[in-house]
């Protein structure tokens, strides 16, 4: 690991990938009972968290409470108008044993200080092998997002165009997510690895390089990465993606790659996967599925056949991914707990957020109102 906070050197995505190879997370995954926890989160993130939290002391005695519902969500929102579709391809069960691994990372805003925003991130890996389910959860890691963090992430002349603080939080979340994804792809062999979201990259918070390397490593180890997105809005003449394959009787796959690709310019955002709509159970919902472009359609259908046999599919969604999401996500009490932790550790007073509309207009300050 070359990252050095004192020198203020920026984190390169190649550094992240380099850390996969020798990570002790591999040992954890080899033998689930032998955990070396200190290596389960990249050291540079722990250090970054630690250094950023030290800047709390300069930010005054007050800490403005954030509403717990303000969880960051930057899933891509695409609205397509697909006029003609090809016929969905049926997915048949494949009864060959396969390990299913799911990864999810969540972030949440904890509050505001005089010179920044506090957020927390947490990651989870869940794997199901021959019916047995295990998990590993790391975090929460707390960050005080100030100019200091931006400098550490992007260097002095780095990107400053990120939307503050959402872009920074996304970057931190992405760093942890890619680290865990990299370790999983590096360790597991001949498995199905489920990512939450899409295989889209090329934004400042989500660089292309790291994802490319992760996918490459996965392929090298015989793994198939399936990125399943819950929130992407794709419609067929106004029909939601979740309803798209409703009329098809069984599990199926629909190629919508060209339609999606048409909406994206080649630069900077890149679709590293081939985009499908898929339905994994007869009465389930359909979701956007991104599969590594280097994986053939046959391999994709084959892996989906294994997924529906080796995992539990509830309402069309894989259970391991559901569990990973449950494990990583922050509840309101998590947020309150972290606020309490901060208030005790840094001796700061938690104050409620001022609602300007409420102050000015009282009960008439309804933010739902169209101005």
């Amino acid at each position: 690991m070359t990252f050095n906070l004192k020198e203020g050197k920026g984190i390169k995505t190649s550094d992240i990938y380099a850390s996969f190879k020798n990570s002790i997370i591999n040992e954890f995954l080899n033998e689930k009972t032998q955990l070396l926890k200190e290596e389960l989160i990249p050291n540079f993130l722990i250090k970054l968290s630690d250094f950023s939290m030290k800047t709390m002391r300069d930010s005054g005695p007050n800490f403005i409470q954030a509403s717990p519902e303000l969880e960051f969500d930057d899933e891509p929102q695409l609205c397509l108008n697909i006029k003609e579709l090809s016929e969905p391809i049926p997915i048949y069960p494949n009864y060959k044993d396969s390990t299913i691994i799911a990864i999810d990372v969540s972030s949440v805003k904890i509050g505001e200080t005089n010179n920044g925003v506090i957020c927390a991130i947490r990651g989870a890996v869940v794997w199901r092998k021959q019916g047995e389910v295990n998990f590993f959860r790391c975090g929460p890691l707390i960050f005080h997002i100030t100019d200091f963090i931006i400098e550490q992430l992007y260097g002095n002349g780095g990107v400053k165009a990120l939307e503050f603080p959402i872009g920074i939080v996304s970057r931190l979340r992405n760093l942890l997510e890619r680290f865990i994804q990299g370790n999983v792809c590096n360790h597991f062999k001949d498995s199905i690895i489920l990512f939450d979201g899409s295989l889209t990259a090329g934004t400042p918070d989500n660089p292309t390089n790291s994802l490319t390397q992760i996918l490459s490593k996965a392929k090298e180890n015989g793994n198939i990465v399936l990125a399943i997105s819950k929130t992407t809005k794709i419609g067929l003449s106004g029909v939601k993606l979740s309803e798209l394959l409703k009329n098809f009787k069984g599990p199926c796959l629909l190629d919508i790659d060209e339609s999606i690709r048409a909406l994206f310019p080649n630069h900077p955002v890149q679709l590293l996967g081939k985009v499908y709509a898929t339905k994994l159970s007869a009465k389930g919902l359909s979701f956007r599925l991104d599969v590594d472009r280097k994986i053939s359609l046959k391999e994709t259908i084959d892996s989906l056949g294994k997924l529906i046999v080796n995992d539990i599919i509830d309402q069309g969604y894989p259970d391991t991914l559901r569990l990973a999401h449950i494990l990583s996500s922050f509840t309101a009490s998590d947020v309150i707990g972290i606020q309490r932790f901060l208030s005790k550790k840094f001796k700061i007073q938690i104050v409620p957020k001022i609602n300007l509309r409420r102050i000015l207009f009282g009960p008439f300050g309804n933010p739902m109102e169209v101005s």
């Binding site: 954890f28 689930k32 955990l35 926890k37 200190e38 389960l40 989160i41 722990i46 968290s49 717990p68 927390a120 869940v126 389910v133 295990n134 998990f135 590993f136 959860r137 790391c138 975090g139 929460p140 890691l141 707390i142 569990l323 449950i326 494990l327 509840t331 309101a332 009490s333 998590d334 947020v335 309150i336 707990g337 972290i338 309490r340 932790f341 005790k344």
Partner: protein, 479 residues
């Protein structure tokens, strides 16, 4: 601890798991701005409704059932999140305002939510007054602090001890009796189960060095001559216990006076006179039937040597002692006759100032006390000097009016909703306190309400006794 909400005289307080608070405990909410404190009592402890806690618990449940795994929390934040799940909501009743070292009742104010400091308050400091002249330890509060009451708080008062079977009611009654005797008070006990007969004997076999303890057993050492019993007690016994009609009662008075005039007031003459008296056949039959019952009761005798001088007996305990009237194994009718006769005799002695006052302990009084006596005891007899303590495991056998007039109530555990509903109507305290606290009291713990605790309801673990209790449930299986 922090104030969460105040509605009327109920204050809700948020408390963290490391703050040990139990139901019944007192807290002082100190408000530095107004320089006074609100004294509140915890009546219920609930989980605080922390936002997101449902999702947290659901997540824990899912994880526990479905999967195994490890958490790595480098900043050790999880402990703070876990604390939130166990955060408690203390539902408290305002009991008074502490101002300049004095507690003011009925006063109320809104303390500062942000500045108030909430601390446990030792209510025993107010109850255990050093000025008390006749102190006795009733038990311990919070398992450590001694609760010292003044036995004088029972003087002239009506007390109720109630709770379900096996919770320690009789035990407390014995503790009260022994302390009354210790301070020179006379007591009389209607002992329905024969459990007070060894009250003066320690478990080691030793006998108490204070007070006089006498057990009266009907037919054995509790017999009266007619002249000792006197007309009014005997007549009342016949009317109220044996349902003698009023017409027959009038004839009975004439017969009694005639026999008195002739100097022939004895059982044989009474029977003979009833048979020969010039009256209607139905009156004669009614009187003779009651006469036969009197004879069968064994309560009366013509032998002066075996008769009981009740006045002398009562005087003998006037400086501290107990008369236990053993009603065990007595038929219901005889029990009622004994109680009627005893209360009449006591009333007579008190009316004539031959007795200063007496503390009456009545276990399961509904089994022998006639309906009209309840009100009589709490009104007329109380003024004469009979200070009753009713002990029962069936609270609905005591009328609501009695509860309302009770000065002190000692409540042991009740789990039955109906019983709780009955006792919650007790005066001097809100029904919610009783329902919330009493339902969860362990055996030998009791909630004391009333004058004896300066009107601060207190949960106390009753002091163990070193005497033969005799009231413990008998079991078949030994182990």
């Amino acid at each position: 601890m922090k104030i969460y909400k105040k509605e009327g005289d109920v204050i809700q307080i948020i408390s963290f798991p490391n703050e040990i608070v139990e139901k019944g405990d007192y807290l002082l909410i100190e408000d530095p701005i107004v320089d006074k404190g609100l004294l509140v009592q915890v009546i219920d402890i609930q989980f605080a409704n922390v936002p997101g806690v449902f999702e947290d618990i659901l997540r824990d449940a899912v994880l526990e059932e479905e999967i195994e795994g490890e958490n790595y929390d480098p900043m050790e934040v999880s402990s703070q999140i876990s604390i939130l799940k166990d955060t408690k909501l203390l539902v408290c009743r305002i009991r008074g305002v502490l101002s300049n070292g004095e507690i003011v009742f009925g006063m109320n104010y809104l303390p500062s939510r942000t500045l108030s400091r909430i601390i446990p308050y030792k209510i025993e400091n107010f109850i255990n007054s050093t000025s008390r002249s006749r102190p006795f330890q009733v038990g311990k509060i919070r398992g450590e602090a001694e609760l010292i009451l003044d036995i004088k708080a029972l003087d002239g008062k009506l007390n109720i001890v109630t709770g379900k079977k096996g919770t320690g009611k009789s035990h407390l009654a014995k503790l009260l009796i022994l302390n009354l005797v210790k301070y020179g008070a006379p007591c009389i006990i209607f002992d329905i189960n024969g459990e007070y007969i060894n009250l003066n004997k320690k478990k080691t076999g030793e006998t108490l060095k204070f007070g006089k303890f006498i057990t009266l057993t009907p037919k054995i050492n509790m017999k009266f001559t007619l002249s000792q019993a006197k007309l009014t007690p005997v007549l009342n016994m016949m009317i109220y216990s044996l349902d003698l009609p009023s017409t027959s009662a009038r004839v009975f008075i004439k017969i009694w006076r005639e026999l008195e005039r002739r100097g022939e007031l004895n059982l044989a003459s009474l029977g003979e006179a009833i048979l020969k008296w010039d009256c209607h056949e139905s009156v004669r039959d009614a009187l003779y039937a009651r006469y036969n019952m009197i004879i069968e009761s064994g309560l009366f005798t013509d032998n002066i040597n075996e008769s009981l001088d009740f006045e002398f007996l009562m005087k003998s305990i006037s400086n501290g002692g107990v008369v236990v009237i053993n009603l065990k194994n007595q038929p219901a009718m005889i029990r009622k006759m004994i109680v009627e006769l005893t209360l009449n005799k006591l009333t007579e002695l008190l009316s004539n100032w031959k007795l200063q006052a007496i503390f009456l302990f009545a276990e399961e009084a509904h089994l022998y006390l006639r309906e009209t006596y309840w009100d009589d005891i709490v009104t007329r007899m109380r003024h004469l000097g009979i200070f009753a303590t009713f002990i029962t495991n069936q609270p609905d056998t005591i009328q609501e009016t009695i509860y309302r007039q009770a000065d002190n109530i000692f409540l042991f555990n009740f789990s039955n909703e109906h019983d709780l509903e009955v006792v919650s109507k007790a005066a001097k305290i809100d029904s919610e306190t009783i329902k919330k606290i009493v339902k969860e009291l362990p055996p030998h713990y009791c909630l004391i309400i009333g004058d004896v605790v300066n009107n601060f309801p207190v949960v106390v673990k009753v002091e163990p006794l070193e005497f033969e209790t005799m009231g413990e449930t008998r079991f078949f299986f030994k182990n």
